[in-house]
Symmetry: C2
């Protein structure tokens, strides 16, 4: 697939986390062995605000390129997490889109609590997956039959890549590039981004703070 | 300043690099010891496209909150790099804004080739600074009296923080949080972002690839 354009479908909702989204998109944008197209996808065509701290919105707003209706099938579907996740767990339009888009995509990637949305959409049934460490208890809100892995930087199960919180999405993305195009391409991308790639999916120093922020916010 | 709102002025131009911008903004957005406001600033009020690979544009577009004329004075002025930098070296409106905004800001941060723009604007005269490693030769295009440091993850000189390429902006931002609010706050932000903070400004593994991409593109 080195000559074909790699289409990244990046799913936005109010209060998605900036680095969950733009860490992976940065890595994918630096792939040089094939053309890359990023499509920012949202429920409608209005700019979507990112999360600011623990507020689901108020951060920089990003312009959609397509809606859930007009978006093309993606080679890689990217679902970020963020403080907006909680409200979206009740959004049947988003969940319906995720279910359909995940089934059509070649690979599906989530960062942080994005995996909770994908699970709630029914797309992670019977699979291993991980999520944000300080909000790990939120995985139970998906009410889904998922084998949640507490200690992992990211988890690969078939075409599904789910990563731990925020920064972990960058390591997962390099693993995706490694699977699609090989280690040399992944290493070249990491080098141009001046990023020290954490290559061991099983090594997760942040499990030590499991549910810390969720407890502070009274969510568990 | 723990009760006062921390205002981040984030300067956009066509073809800025996604992670140069949203890595630092993620870290600043997670500060909890004071309110934080991010103001996305651009020359006019139209959405600004990020870089895609080596193309100065074509990436996701971000909505400005203010223009060079209406932007408030920033506590932290953030200037990202990216493939759009080259064209902006000839943009006297942007350079004039950077010169004025840098003089008014409490702290000024650049990522990647953002330091070349700041130098060209005359704001780094007589200071130590660093820049992207694979495009380090572009520092000469600033035609400015700057003590360019080849090997550094980031450089602090007075109120100026300049970082190496792309990912280095996250380490620099944590150093900024450390200076403003102490190590405990910086460590808490890194932990919530599940980011392994590279704390040693002098340690720079990417100097080994000095000017590699610039040579491949025939720029040096």
């Amino acid at each position: 697939m080195r000559d074909k354009t790699l289409v990244i479908g990046a799913v936005m909702y109010p209060g998605f986390e900036m680095l969950d989204m733009f860490g992976p998109l940065e890595m994918f944008s630096l792939v040089t062995c094939c053309p890359v197209q990023i499509v920012m996808i949202a429920q409608d065509d209005k700019p979507v605000s990112t999360a600011m701290g623990q507020s689901p919105g108020g951060g920089p707003a990003v312009t959609p390129d397509a809606t859930f209706v007009t978006a093309p099938a993606a080679d890689i579907l990217l679902v970020p997490g963020g403080f907006g996740t909680l409200a979206e767990l009740e959004n049947s339009v988003l969940l319906g889109y995720l279910r359909q888009a995940a089934s059509e995509a070649r690979l599906v990637c989530t960062v942080c609590t994005g995996s909770v949305l994908l699970a709630k959409a029914g797309a992670l049934k019977g699979r291993r997956a991980t999520s944000n460490k300080q909000f790990f208890a939120l995985t139970q809100m998906a009410e889904a039959d998922v084998d949640w892995v507490e200690s992992a930087r990211w988890v690969e199960h078939g075409k599904y890549f789910t990563s731990s919180g925020v920064s972990a999405g960058m390591d997962m993305s390099l693993a995706v590039i490694n699977r699609l195009f090989g280690a040399e391409e992944a290493e070249a991308v990491a080098s141009v981004a001046e990023y020290t790639w954490h290559r061991d999916a099983a090594s997760d120093p942040f499990t030590a703070d499991l549910n810390k922020a969720a407890r502070q916010m009274g969510l568990v």
